[in-house]
Symmetry: C5
Subunit: 86 residues, 5 copies
């Protein structure tokens, strides 16, 4: 998993039917080149929070969305995230 900061969300009205009801958050990884990713939120993460993001098949299967086209999911909120990044 990677750690990132939730910095916003995106809205998609026209989308795959298996994505209806999913919330798409923009996550900026705290490591590396900071290429932002779009992750489905499973936890209720808010903007500004530091989160654990699972990538790949783990995002689908680990979140009970086996048949959804999801390759990234927020699966945890880091306690004391602001300290982590220092």
């Amino acid at each position: 998993m990677i750690i990132g900061k939730v910095i916003g969300s995106v809205v998609s009205t026209r989308k795959n039917e298996n994505l209806v009801g999913s919330k798409f958050m923009i996550v900026e990884p705290v490591e590396g080149d900071a290429k932002k990713i779009i992750a489905v939120d499973n936890i209720g993460a808010g903007i500004g929070e530091y989160v654990l993001v699972a990538l790949g098949s783990a995002a689908r299967i680990g979140c009970g969305k086996e048949t959804s086209p999801i390759d990234a999911a927020i699966v945890g909120i880091i306690d004391d995230g602001a300290n982590y990044i220092k």
Copy 2:
């Protein structure tokens, strides 16, 4: 998922039989080094639109193409995509 802009399409006449009928769009990611990817369109995205692209097994399984050699699929169109990129 990543967000990209649809900038064109490619045609492949000689191809794997499980790809017959698929539309291959050229998508330029808005983040990072802009390495273009070829994604199958499931939504009816047009050139110039900003789209959500699912990568890996999510592209196959999440789009009902379990047995097709697809590793990238357009699964949503971003509302107000031009603003997103600013």
Copy 3:
């Protein structure tokens, strides 16, 4: 998927038994840093042709090779590939 140019092939006599009969082509991606990959050919691609390459589980499952250790496969030949790259 990515687009690449077939630039050669490799021969491996001692190999996993599930790879016997597979043809290994060297493909140079047209995008990015041009790190070459070895893809199994399912189409009959020739050297110099521009091809669609599927990566990951799509290469195995999408080509009817579920139990072969294949993570990259040529799944289409691009019509008019020379123009694409310009």
Copy 4:
């Protein structure tokens, strides 16, 4: 797999229910650009140890956590890790 050094851990109280009981370690790869990853520990690795990390579906399925959103797992501790890195 990759080799990395365990440099700390993160705590996430609010998380996916399939992650309850998992220990999240911060691992710094010894190769490349040193982008840190968060790996679930299956072995009892301590801070400062050099470990083998499995990535992708191997982390879930190879550790008996098929339905957890885990994409990285510590699956071995390198004997004589300090020498490896020299």
Copy 5:
């Protein structure tokens, strides 16, 4: 798949039980930034040999190790590897 040169091996005494009996080789890819990977050997590759490495789920499933935490496997030895790299 990628091509790499076997440059050594690592020993891990404390490891996931599904890895017992596996041989971990250090492989240096011949392409790109040369970030070394640890691959399980299925072929009997020796140090100095050029090998085909399968990555991701192909490494597990293609080598009959469906339930092992393996994400990289040596699946072939390149004939005339020294010439390949020139």
